[in-house]
Symmetry: C2
Subunit: 344 residues, 2 copies
C-alpha cells in the first residue's frame, strides 16, 4: 500500500461521504459513534494523513527555532528549557531542542540543521566553539550564543552573545572566601587547557588571590578529569577525592559549578570530614539542588531566566533584521548559605 | 536582496571561479588564504546557502526521530537523552527533542510534529495520555511509549510500551520498609486523582501494607501539590513540611520519586530531625543525585539505559514494518543505601 491515500479513498472504503471522514478525524460530535469508529479504524489501517491546504501552508512557512544544547542533561541547562520554550511560543515560534556532544563540530551541526529543518533561527546553549572555526559563516539563519563563554568569541563568530563574565564573577566568589578569612583555598577548575567557562573562572580565582596578597599555590589547583563528563557530580567527586588524598592543607574549596560541589560534598563526607566545620565549600551557578544539600551550598547565582528571555529577544531582533546588536553581560548574585565557615 | 543567491553569483562578485568558492566553503587547503577570506566574507554578507543536489536529497530523505518529552527538565528523563541519541545515531537516525507541557494534548502535538518535520518515528518519554483520546490514531508514523505508565494504555493507543510495573515495584519498596520493622509508613504520592505513575505506586503501597497486616491510615497518604510542578524537589519539600506539621506519627516516608525524596530531606533537616535516626526516607527511580545526598537515598533503580535502548530497538522494528510487538516490562533493583533505620 505505497500510493498516497486521500480522504476520498477513506470515504469510499467506509461507504460514507468525505464530510463524515472529516468529522470523524476532527472528533466532531455530529457523527454516529459507530461510523466514527469505523472511519478511524480505516484511517489507522491505511495510515491516512489528512492533508489540507492550511496544513500545507504551515509546512512551508516553518516557524521553528532550534535550541542547540551542549550538555543536554546538565541541570543548569535543563532548568532553562521551559523558559526558552515559553518565551518562543509566546512569540509565535515552535521550538525544538538539539543535543550535541562536546566533541561534535557545533557550527557544522547548526549548518546541517538550518538546511534540513527550515529554521528561523538558532540559540546555542553551552558548549565551546573553536574561535578559529569558520563554519559559523555557513549558518544561514540568525543565531545567538547563550552562556557560551565570552572568551570564545573569535572573529568568525559573528553573532551576539548572552552570558556572564566568568572571570569577574568567579573572582567575586573567591573574594567572599577571602573575606571569610580563608587563605588556603583550593579550586576544582575545568579540564586542563579549558579556554571557555572553566578557563575564565580559573583566571578569576587567581586574580582574587593576588588582590588579597595570597600567593597562588599550584598544588591547590585541581582540574576536572578528561575521562569523565565535565561539570558533573561524578567529576567533582573524583577530583575532590584526589584533593583530600593529596594531603595538601586547605580550608576551603571553590568548585566552579554547583554540580561539581555536590560531588565534592560526597567525597568530603566519605573522608569522614564535616562541611563547613572541617572544609568550606562553595559552588557556582545557583541550581536549585544546592538548596537541598546538607548543608546548603553557598554559590553565585546566574540569572538563568533572564538570560533565556534576553537570548530570545535578541534572536527575534536578528530575525527582524536588526544589526550590530551588542553582547549582553549579566551579573551573578552571591548567595551565602551554610557551607562556609568564618575563620579568624 | 530577496532573490536567491547562487554559487555563480558569489563567484562573479568575488571575481573567482565556482570551484574556488566551493573550496573556500569546504575549507579546502588548496586555496589562497586571502581569496578564501574574501569569498567567505561575501558568502556571509549575502547569506549564501550552498545548495548541492546531494544536500537536496538529504533534505527530502529525512531520517529524523523525535523524542517527545513531558517534563524535559526532570533529571530522570534528562539522564536518558544521551542514551537515546547514541542509540539512534548508531542506527543512522537523527534525533531531536520536543518538550511538551503536562497539560498539552500530547498526541495532537505528535501529529503536528509528524507532519511538519517529516519524521520517521516518535518516542514518547514521560507524561500522561488520556486513554480515551483518539488523537493518536492520527499520528502517521510509528511510535513507542517509554516510561509512560502501563495503566494509561487505552484502546486507542495502538503502540508498544516500554516501562516498569509501578504497582509491583512500589510494593517492593514498601515491602523493604516493612521488613525493616516500619509500620507507620507515610507516602508522598502523585497529585490527587493521578491515574498514571503516581496512581500505580500508591496502589503498590497499599498492597504491601495489606500483605504485612498493616491497616492503611489515610492520614499518612499525602499527595503532591497541584500548584507546583509534579515530581520536583519543591513539591517534595512542601508536602513533607505539611506531613511533619500534621503531627501524625510516622517512622518512615516513601517518596515516589528520588527528587521528591530530596525535597523531603530538606524539610526533615529544617525541622531539626535526622535521617534515618528520626525518620527513614526512601525514594524511587535511582537518579544519580541520590548517591550525593546525606545520607545516601535508598531507592528502586529503574534500568534507564536499557529502557532507552529497548525503546529505540522497538521503534526501528516498527519502522521496518514489524507488527504486534509486545509491551516490554522491566524490573527495578532495590538499592539499599543509608536512609533507612532498622526498627525492632
Amino acid at each position: 500500500m505505497k500510493e498516497i491515500i486521500t480522504i476520498k479513498d477513506i470515504a469510499r472504503m467506509c461507504n460514507v461521504g468525505v464530510a463524515t471522514v472529516s468529522r470523524a478525524i476532527n472528533d466532531d460530535p455530529g457523527i454516529n459513534e459507530k461510523t466514527k469508529e469505523k472511519v478511524l479504524e480505516t484511517v489507522r489501517k491505511y495510515r491516512y494523513v489528512p492533508n489540507t491546504s492550511a496544513r500545507n501552508l504551515k509546512m512551508t512557512e516553518s516557524n521553528t527555532i532550534a535550541l542547540v544544547v551542549c550538555g543536554v542533561g546538565n541541570v543548569f541547562f535543563s532548568s532553562m528549557y521551559d523558559d526558552f520554550q515559553n518565551e518562543l511560543e509566546k512569540n509565535g515560534y515552535d521550538f525544538f531542542l538539539d543535543s550535541v556532544d562536546n566533541d561534535v563540530n557545533i557550527p557544522a551541526e547548526a549548518f546541517r540543521l538550518s538546511k534540513e529543518k527550515r529554521l528561523k533561527g538558532i540559540i546555542f546553549l553551552g558548549g565551546w566553539i573553536n574561535p578559529e572555526s569558520r563554519s559559523l559563516l555557513n549558518v544561514n539563519v540568525p543565531f545567538v550564543f547563550c552562556t557560551v563563554s565570552q572568551a570564545i568569541k573569535g572573529p568568525h563568530a559573528p553573532c551576539p552573545t548572552v552570558g556572564i563574565s566568568d572571570i569577574i564573577e568567579a573572582k567575586r566568589m573567591v573574594d567572599y572566601l577571602c573575606d571569610m578569612g580563608h587563605r588556603r583555598i583550593a579550586i576544582i577548575a575545568g579540564v586542563e587547557g579549558d579556554m571557555a567557562v572553566g578557563g575564565g573562572r580559573l583566571i578569576g580565582y587567581k586574580q582574587s588571590l593576588a588582590e588579597h596578597g595570597i600567593e597562588v599555590d599550584e598544588r591547590l589547583i585541581f582540574h576536572m578529569k578528561k575521562d569523565i563528563d565535565e561539570f558533573t557530580v561524578e567529576n567533582g567527586y573524583a577530583v575532590t577525592e584526589e584533593l583530600i588524598a593529596s594531603g595538601i592543607e586547605f580550608t576551603a574549596v571553590f568548585c566552579i559549578s554547583d554540580l561539581t560541589a555536590m560531588g565534592a560534598y560526597r567525597a568530603i563526607y566519605d573522608a569522614g570530614l564535616k562541611i563547613p566545620e572541617d572544609i568550606s565549600v562553595v559552588g557556582f551557578d545557583g541550581i536549585e539542588f544546592g538548596d537541598y544539600m546538607y548543608p546548603r551550598i553557598t554559590t553565585m547565582v546566574q540569572p538563568r531566566h533572564e538570560m533565556a528571555v534576553e537570548s530570545v529577544r535578541i534572536l527575534l531582533d536578528l530575525i527582524a533584521g536588526k544589526e550590530d546588536i551588542p553582547d549582553t553581560v549579566f551579573e551573578t548574585e552571591l548567595l551565602t548559605r551554610d557551607s562556609v565557615k568564618k575563620i579568624n
